[in-house]
């Protein structure tokens, strides 16, 4: 029995098995998965979710600093993806597009959260500094981690997105530029500025400790 899961179904394999090339099931390519999902195939869409859920969730978590908010953001990202998948070129990789949606969703959530915080402040509510990450997160040094989130929180949205994707997600400058629909030069400038700011904030926070 030939390995039908292999993408290389040669004429020789077909001859040996006594089947024509058309009889052999062909593995589905990434572009076909996108096309099928765009036409409403839920199984194909589930495959897209499975392949990208960790990356989307990680970006959202690092953008928002809270796991519960990151879960909501990731859910919104995939629902938006389901809605607008037909606009995507199936020949292009899907991940940068999903990261772009994630960044946009996180910006929206942060803006909303800021508005609500402002309203709470106006009503005299006590402002509580949320611990970074969720209860499931296991981290070597929670204090250092909290310092990093606090420093990240001081950055403008675009610099924060650039530094999260570059320094936390490990994307290249070109990939970050693609995900943020920006130029590599702009992204480099944002990353440089963000690193300098974070260094200063961390210095200040550590001095305060």
């Amino acid at each position: 029995m030939p390995d039908v899961s292999s993408s290389a179904v040669t004429a020789e394999t077909c001859r040996m098995s006594g089947r024509s090339r058309d009889d052999v099931p062909r593995p589905i390519t990434a572009s076909e998965v996108v096309s099928r999902a765009a036409s409403g195939d839920t199984t194909a869409f589930e495959r897209i979710v499975m392949e990208n859920e960790r990356r989307v969730l990680a970006v959202a978590w690092r953008m928002l600093g809270r796991m519960d908010e990151a879960e909501d953001a990731a859910q919104e990202v995939f629902l938006r993806a389901y809605r607008f998948l037909h606009r995507v070129d199936p020949q292009k990789p899907l991940t940068p597009w999903l990261i772009r949606i994630t960044v946009n969703v996180c910006h929206d959530l942060r803006r909303r959260s800021r508005r609500e915080t402002t309203l709470e402040d106006e009503h005299g509510a006590e402002q509580v500094l949320e611990p970074a990450g969720g209860p499931d997160a296991v981290f070597a040094d929670d204090e250092r981690r909290r310092l990093l989130w606090t420093a990240l929180d001081t950055l403008p949205d675009k610099e924060r997105a650039a530094i999260v994707l570059r320094d936390l997600e490990g994307l290249s400058t070109k990939e970050v530029a693609e995900a943020l629909e920006s130029s590599p030069a702009t992204v480099r400038s944002q990353i440089s500025s963000a690193r300098l700011k974070i260094r200063k904030v961390l210095d200040r926070l550590k001095v305060q400790k």
Binding site: A38, S39, G40, T42, F45, E46, V49, M50, E53, R54, L57, A58, W61, R62, M67, E71, A74, Q75, F78, L79, Y82, R83, F84, H86, R87, G134, D136, A137, V138, F139, A140, D141, R144, R145, L147, L148, A151, R166, D167, L168, E169, G170, T173, R188, S189, I191, S192, S193, R195, L196, I198, R199, L202, D203
Partner: protein, 223 residues
């Protein structure tokens, strides 16, 4: 050094090897001889170590699974609601455009319509008025009308009889008037009506005939 400021941004990129070869060639000689920039770079390396620690974190599996379950539940429960009407129409249109057969059919149909349109005969220009109103000849022969009017006899008004019922009560009873004597052959009364002329206008529509009544001395009579 006085030009350390211009290297600040480059150092922030140098710390993660984000500089091009040319940029590195410019930064490294300065860095080798500038203690302030060396100190800045060391501080940057230290702050970047925070990122390196977080970078290695792994998300719990159940969180990702939970997100997937929630997303698929929403879609399977009501896919139409997730999409909305606008997106559904957009998808249907795009799906049609992306199918080669649909594209070929559309192009063929457009070509047939174009050929038929071109082969249609040109409309002939006619020098005729767009609207023609035909006015038939009017019979303007005067017609004298002298009608005879018969006057009906005038009916007398009813009389009211009063019936005395007692000292206190008094009821008025209306009795019908006694029918007057009718002269069934009254003498004809002639009223002098000035002579009139009637003009009959016949239109294209056989159901529409206009009569124009003209009184002598009053030319503006009505139809």
């Amino acid at each position: 050094m006085k030009n350390c400021k211009q290297f600040e941004g480059l150092l922030a990129l140098h710390v993660e090897n984000d500089l091009s070869t040319e940029e590195s060639a410019a930064v490294e000689p300065h860095l080798a001889e500038c203690p302030d920039c060396q100190q800045d770079l060391a501080a940057l390396v230290k702050s970047q170590s925070f990122f390196r620690e977080v970078r290695g974190e792994r998300l719990p599996d159940d969180v990702a699974r939970d997100v997937r379950r929630r997303v698929l539940e929403r879609i399977e429960q009501n896919p139409g609601r997730v999409l909305g009407w606008g997106i559904r129409i957009e998808r249907a249109v795009l799906a049609g455009v992306r199918r080669p057969l649909a594209v070929a059919t559309t192009c063929g149909l457009a070509a047939v319509i174009a050929v038929v349109w071109i082969s249609l005969p040109e409309p002939v220009a006619v020098d005729e008025p767009i609207v023609a109103i035909e006015t038939p000849d009017v019979d303007d022969t005067p017609a004298e009308v002298r009608p005879t009017v018969t006057l009906e006899p005038v009916v007398e008004p009813a009389e009211t009889a009063v019936v005395e019922l007692g000292d206190t009560d008094r009821v008025d009873v209306v009795q019908p008037a006694f029918p007057p004597a009718i002269d069934w052959n009254p003498a004809p009364v002639e009223i002098d009506i000035p002579p009139q002329r009637t003009v009959k206008l016949v239109t294209d529509n056989p159901r529409v005939i206009i009569y124009w009544v003209l009184e002598e001395g009053n030319e503006g009579g009505g139809a």
